[in-house]
Chain length 321, copies 2
């Protein structure tokens, strides 16, 4: 089935919401569905659509895979509680870190996360809930990049010929698949999602695992999580499309208190983009770059060097992994 994009200019958000709500009701019938909430705007919007369509027959889970930003699980549960949606927090840290152990190749890491998420975690959750459907916030850019073979987005399954019912025991519902990020933001506003959800920068499916070059361990995720908090604090007022910190595997020579300190490097990226399809580095003032470097090398243990990505997409991509 070919998927046709609905561009921002042609989107009627109110009509879109009415249509998708009805579509979800029709598909699920009087059964149950499960929603996989990640904290990003895509899955948040999908969850609200599902909640409008199914009410209590939608079970919403937030999977704490150990790869989330600082305070993320608690924040999300609380935001959705205010919206009248109960979210169950599932601790799956061990499942994910076990799956990631010893993997350094980006596609290999992405595939391990996909398997842990759909097969190990949601396979069990959907079965236990007695549901037949998994609702998720896949968007148009995700399919495009996966099908083109640029990056395997963890939520792309059917488009790669995967029969989810046979493999995982449930079908997938993707109400936002015709929209890119900017259109999803419009829908989210119309859904009364708080702006701290729809205005937050995009966050990748594999979460902080996409921000660690080389093996993803709890320790390395902890380092990039600290750097991410600093980057988000310093750049949230920049108006940029997305900003992120990447922990490199390469080590570089540094110096502290007159002594050699062979340490870590963090790469900062900050993007101007409309839809993640193309992008260019934000022209951040040097005082901001300087403060980022100063804070990261001071507050994140082991980091002696910070760089700023100056490459456009293409040939770069938004994330490094």
């Amino acid at each position: 089935m070919e998927i046709k994009e609905i561009a921002l200019e042609e989107l009627d958000a109110e009509k879109f919401i009415a249509e998708k709500t009805e579509e979800i009701s029709l598909i699920v019938g009087d059964g149950l569905a499960v929603s996989a909430l990640s904290g990003g705007v895509d899955s948040a919007a999908a969850t609200i659509l599902g909640h409008k369509a199914l009410g209590d027959r939608l079970k919403t889970y937030f999977i704490d895979n150990g790869l989330m930003r600082e305070g993320e699980p608690e924040n999300i549960v609380s935001v959705f509680k205010d919206l009248g949606v109960t979210v169950e927090l599932v601790d799956a840290k061990k499942t994910f870190f076990d799956a990631l152990k010893g993997r350094a190749d980006p596609e290999d890491k992405r595939e391990a996360i996909t398997r842990a998420f759909y097969r190990d975690v949601f396979g069990a959750l959907v079965r236990e809930a007695g549901a037949r459907y998994l609702l998720q916030g896949t968007n148009y850019t995700d399919i495009e990049e996966t099908v083109a073979g640029i990056k395997r987005q963890h939520n792309i399954l059917e488009q790669l010929g995967i029969d989810t019912e046979e493999m995982y025991g449930y079908k997938i519902i993707e109400p936002l698949i015709q929209l890119r990020k900017s259109a999803i933001r419009e829908v989210s506003k119309e859904l009364w999602l708080p702006d701290k959800i729809y205005n937050r920068p995009p966050f990748p499916g594999p979460a902080l695992a996409a921000r660690v070059i080389g093996e993803v361990t709890p320790k390395r995720v902890g380092i990039v999580r600290k750097a991410t908090t600093i980057v988000e604090e310093e750049l949230s007022s920049s108006g940029a499309f997305q900003y992120l910190a990447i922990l490199h595997e390469d080590k570089v020579t540094g110096v502290r208190e007159g002594k050699r300190d062979y340490g870590l490097q963090i790469e900062v990226r900050c993007w101007e983009s409309k839809d993640a399809k193309t992008g260019s580095p934000t022209e951040l003032p040097y005082e901001v770059l300087d403060r980022l470097a100063e804070r990261i090398t001071t507050e994140v243990p082991g980091v002696v060097s910070v760089t700023y990505s100056i490459t456009k997409k293409p040939p770069s991509t938004i994330e490094a992994v």
Copy 2:
């Protein structure tokens, strides 16, 4: 023996040259000395001092270790020919790449280069020339960093307790050891070295091996050499103290013509500094950063990402290896 710095402010270049020339004459007596010319301002100034002191009794060699910048060996030979100094070009590429094979640790690489240079290459050259002395351009920052244990500079031997006569068969003369870079530039002007020598940015002892993270192979040196040419072309008019390109070992995801391209990353550093002891990144205009990224990702095969270092020294160092 403690070495006392002569700061730029207290330097009388003319007097310094007269004293050092006489010192070299006294030490070498009526024997021979060998000079190790690297193309940097330090060894160039040391060579001219040696030439003034010894005339034809100084044999000057340029070692092509395979780690030099584009066109470097030929340029240097030609510049010194114009100054009346004959330089013999020695092809030692195989010796150095054999010594570097399989080594990824920075200090290990530096030590391999030191051994190849002093023991294998100069051990033989000094013996064949019938000389007893090796003249080299070690400066004050080199000893400081080596003794502090920050980076082992390849030319630091005696200060680490190495008896060069016993180990390599010759003694070392270091006429510039009390000066930092800015003072050496003053001496070089006074020595009538052409400004393309004394105004060129500092270049590390281990040459491009200091600009390759991980194993140093002819192929990887070839990549960083191309990037170095671009960085020097674009930044030579910046007035910066030093500018360089570093090839990372980490690979990152890129995209070309709509397809995934898992490729290389080059880090650019450009420093404001007086003496390399401390430094801060030059506030290059974004159009310059953009042109660097554009040229490097277009002209250097395999590179999909370019970053700019935004960290001060300390805690960064000027070079990464």
